[in-house]
Subunit: 232 residues, 2 copies
DNA sequence: CCAAAAGTGTTGCCGTTACACCCATGT
DNA sequence: ACATGGGTGTAACGGCAACACTTTTGG
């Protein structure tokens, strides 16, 4: 029964997987806890207080940790195992937040206490298992709590939603080339895609609008810039 | 920040959408609160205490409300709007539990305080909006909290996972006919499916094993019984 | 003229759909 | 015999993958 008279009360936190794609690889913002109370790297998070909704708390953490205001985010799942936090019982609602890489690189500096870690997945498709995190040099990072498992779930969710939702576009700017979209898809799926097929499937979804402008290119033909056409 | 020293603590509950399919229609177990503190019908739920994990709490509620021990369940999403419960702040982790209809009909009796309500969805596919709940006579039920919204999300999730997961089989017995599976799919999707196509797609997934036994039938050819072949 | 990446056309395969048909059973 | 629902065959359609090809730029 849900008796409010003498309820058990628990600490509820949100944990954010702030994700981006840099040079065709997934990256996620990790922090090392300032007062080394729990060893290892962890996703940024914050406790949910009585006056704030979940989304509001997420927004607040996002701005505090990255300065980014308008990132797209969505809920992933909630983790409530009794011993997931060695310091005490914490129910954690995990969120995914997406951001183009330069927005993040401007706001967070890699250092001893924070970094944009590389997020690898050994398994293909939507199989199980935790994610593997490494630093810029490719050295494995030891993760606090169950955060490696959460990040594994995250990648599976991303892969599943990739081609029927708009998540991929959360990792891009307002205007982008078709190649940019393909790079993001390949980074998330972990394998290369055929260019003509990808192109046609993407355009056939009827989501994009050609702008007529072209991205400045190097020694090759410039690519046309597209936008999401927003239908309300 | 996640300070454990003086944390805000909140009431955390699990709410269960205990779902079944009866006569080709989705049904969900709803309760009317005994001490009419909140008007309307609600999903069964329970407060999460300090010693129990989320899944454990779900299992406990499930057995308490239905007597069913081995139902398949999975997490849906977490709802934490500040005013979703008029009595105070409650974070609610919604779960989906699946059960063959006769297991439920045996354990719960329709009455003034509990019923297997009809779950309708006006919208097709995976569009938005709350679910519509009615009683056996087709009269709309007024729902407590945000439970109509949660049940809307539930149906969308079910529809999305229907043909790449095993959820449909949670609504069936160990042995079933192909027609049974089709009925479940049609109930969830809300529209009829072509028999030959459904049959072939289902068998081509390579999940089923023909038993060689046949279901007792009426005035027509008996249908073969199939089982899930469990691959570990 | 060459390299590099954008972008298109063509072909063949394969899964799905629609429709017609056969099979087994009770009345 | 026939009504009823289980189960199968077949041909047309449409989407997708592979591959070869053309286009546009900088050097």
């Amino acid at each position: 029964m849900r008796s409010i008279s003498s309820p058990t009360r628990l600490t509820v936190a949100v944990d954010l997987a702030i994700l981006t794609v840099i040079d065709g690889a997934m990256r996620v913002l990790l922090l090392r806890r300032p007062d080394d109370d729990v060893p290892g790297w962890a996703m940024p998070g914050g406790v949910v207080d009585a006056e704030r909704g979940l989304d509001e708390t997420v927004q607040q953490v996002l701005v505090a940790k990255t300065g980014v205001r308008d990132a797209h985010f969505e809920q992933l799942a909630t983790y409530g195992a009794v011993n997931r936090d060695p310091r005490g019982r914490v129910i954690s609602v995990a969120y995914l937040a997406l951001c183009p890489h330069d927005r993040l690189e401007g706001a967070v500096a890699a250092g001893a206490d924070q970094m944009l870690a590389h997020l690898h997945t050994t398994w293909p498709g939507e199989q199980g298992g935790p994610a593997r995190l490494t630093d810029a040099a490719g050295q494995p990072l030891s993760m606090a709590f169950d955060h490696a498992d959460i990040l594994g779930d995250l990648v599976r969710r991303l892969r599943g939603k990739l081609d029927y939702s708009l998540i991929a576009f959360g990792l891009l700017h307002r205007r982008f080339t078709l190649r940019d979209v393909q790079t993001v898809h390949e980074a998330i799926l972990g394998h290369p895609l055929a260019k003509p097929a990808f192109r046609r499937k993407l355009l056939s979804r009827g989501l994009l609008k050609a702008t007529g402008d072209y991205a400045p290119a190097g020694a090759h033909r410039p690519a046309e810039l597209y936008e999401l056409l927003e239908e309300k």
